[in-house]
Amino acid sequence: ASGRDRVSKAKTRRSKRFLQSRQPKLTEDQKSSMIIRGGNTSQTVSQALKDVYALKKPNAVLYKRKNMVRPFDDSTALEFFSKKSDCSLFLFGSHNKKRPNNLIFGRMFDFHVLDMFELGIERFVSLRDVKTDTCPEGTKPLLVFAGELFETDREHQRLRSLLTDFFCGPRVSAVRLAGLEHVLHFTALEGKIYMRSYKVLLKKSGCRTPRIQLQDMGPSFDFVMRRNHMASDDLYKTAHRQPRGVKPKKKKNISHDAFGTRLGRLHMQNSRSPQENKSAYVSLRTEKQN
């Protein structure tokens, strides 16, 4: 409980609940993301940040003012923001002559930067430019990654993990079949990532499973991979370590067969050892010899 560890106690129950929600937990809630603008942002970058914010609406924070931060040089400012707003994912947008239309996707572990990937926007189509109806905010999107680079190249693998983390919604135990409306499709080809977002239309097919038709929905990006900062292997491993209480304990010696009957196994000790009758055996032998 948070109350036990703090030198200054929370004065109201509301503040106590707020502090408790920020404590580390066994099973974590959905990660929130902070969307920050850098020292100089172009129209493309600002619109891109707003679109991503719209995609991630309830669990995202959009910082309105510009911040003179260079994430690759000094990440302390980002870590400070992350601590203040309790966000572990971040998206930093900036624009300068050397790196035009720059977006940095990143995630944190324990309020320190874990991974950061810098992607340059080559082509961008915003939500506003595509005049179709969109799906309600907060829908869990279907994520599809295409391209063998996502499997073979180490950096692409890490980027895939980061993009999954960023765009997958809350962890749910069940999903409404008619509510699968949004799909995000990432294609990796020759050092470029093409991100497209479509609205899913479920059409009638001859059988139970519907036929899919896709309708263009914003936003769509053409990214080019620039710099990155990947966490070291052991830090990455530590970040993945799950606490003990999460996995349910398996009960040993219990199995279910095909009919659903519950079977168990008993381990018996040997009641009779072959040594016990040794004397009788020996005497027989002597008799025979005689």
Partner: protein
């Protein structure tokens, strides 16, 4: 019909099935990897760069996405479904892609002093009722807090117990006792926290500053020296260490009923001094004071910084407080220089 054979019926059934599934089948070289728990699919197939030309790019991407999404939807439709309030819902399995955590796992907290004792003695926690019957007001009131059942502070009459001093303020005594209990509780709570985090709490009077002044270290040495069973009587001095005289006691009071003649003499001397018109002047003291002032002025004129350092040794009693203050000020300045950048 005699011409219909079993094979014909079977092949017709197969063709019908294939017709039905035509809408949803997708042909791929390699099967996709699925993670239905995360609604995630990964297509490892090679992308044909020829079809990826500029003008046809969007269409190619859309058809690729359509195929992949179709396969993913097929996977999701295979999951067991149930009906929740007239909505058909598919139950998702646990996600298979492992994603890093946000914060490290919570560590189990070490038990507090009371918890250790309770565990040792086998004392169980008893759940108490929220409301207690108040006889005075004849209603149910809460056990503690605003408008509680037995409120000590609201009493307008306190009986003075037999063995107590009649002129003692019983109300003030009660308030003071409450304050002491609150302070003790707070102290114990902080000690529990320090024990949990394994922070060393200093003994009385020794502040845990990183840089200790000469005076503070000397005080720490003295306290350590007298912390033996014989209160430091048999502790040898280090070479060049002087036993401090007048430790702690700054004033020495004469006993109340002691030497009557000396007390009488002292009182008479005092009256004589008060009567006399001449001012008392201690020449040595005056001369020393003047010399010190002159030294200080000359030091400040020649070397500004060094004079201050020399002063540090003199601040024996007050040194601790001032040095602590200096340390704190430095900390505050150096802590967050980039706070200025942190604007929303």
């Amino acid at each position: 019909m005699a011409s219909c054979s079993v094979e014909d019926v079977l092949t017709k059934a197969e063709r019908d099935e294939a017709e039905k599934l035509k809408g949803i089948t997708v042909n791929k070289e390699l099967d996709l990897e699925f993670d239905p728990g995360n609604l995630l699919a990964f297509d490892k197939n090679r992308i044909d760069t020829r079809e990826f030309k500029d003008n046809k790019r969007e269409d190619f991407l859309r058809s690729l996405a359509r195929d992949n999404t179709q396969l993913l939807i097929n996977e999701v439709w295979k999951l067991p479904t149930e009906r929740v309030e007239e909505i058909i819902v598919a139950k998702l399995p646990d996600p298979t892609t492992s994603l890093p955590r946000e914060k490290p796992a919570p560590k189990p907290k070490p038990p507090t002093k009371w918890e250790q004792f309770a565990k040792l003695k086998g004392i169980q926690k008893k759940k108490k009722t929220n409301l207690v019957w108040d006889e005075v007001h004849k209603e149910w009131r809460r056990r503690w807090g605003y408008k509680r059942a037995k409120d000590d502070t609201k009493e307008w009459l306190i009986e003075v117990p037999e063995n107590a001093d009649p002129s003692e303020d019983q109300f003030a005594k009660r308030n003071k006792a409450k304050k002491e209990r609150v302070a003790k509780n707070e102290y114990n709570r902080l000690k529990n926290i320090a024990r949990a985090q394994k922070i060393k709490v200093p003994g009385m009077g020794l502040a845990p500053t990183p840089r200790q002044s000469k005076a503070e270290l000397a005080q720490a040495v003295n306290v350590a020296k007298i912390s033996t069973a014989s209160v430091g009587k048999f502790q040898d001095n280090l070479p060049k260490e002087k036993t401090p005289k007048n430790t702690g006691k700054k004033r020495k009071f004469q006993p109340l009923i002691g030497d009557f003649s000396s007390e009488k003499q002292k009182q008479l001397d005092l009256l004589k001094v008060m009567d006399s018109k001449k001012p008392r002047l201690d020449i040595t003291k005056a001369v020393n004071k003047q010399m010190r002032e002159e030294d200080r002025d000359s030091a400040q004129k020649s070397k500004k910084g060094f004079g201050k350092k020399g002063r540090r040794g003199n601040m024996s009693g007050k040194g601790k407080g001032k040095a602590g203050g200096k340390g704190k000020a430095k900390k505050g300045k150096g802590q967050k220089p980039h706070m200025k950048q942190g604007k929303r």
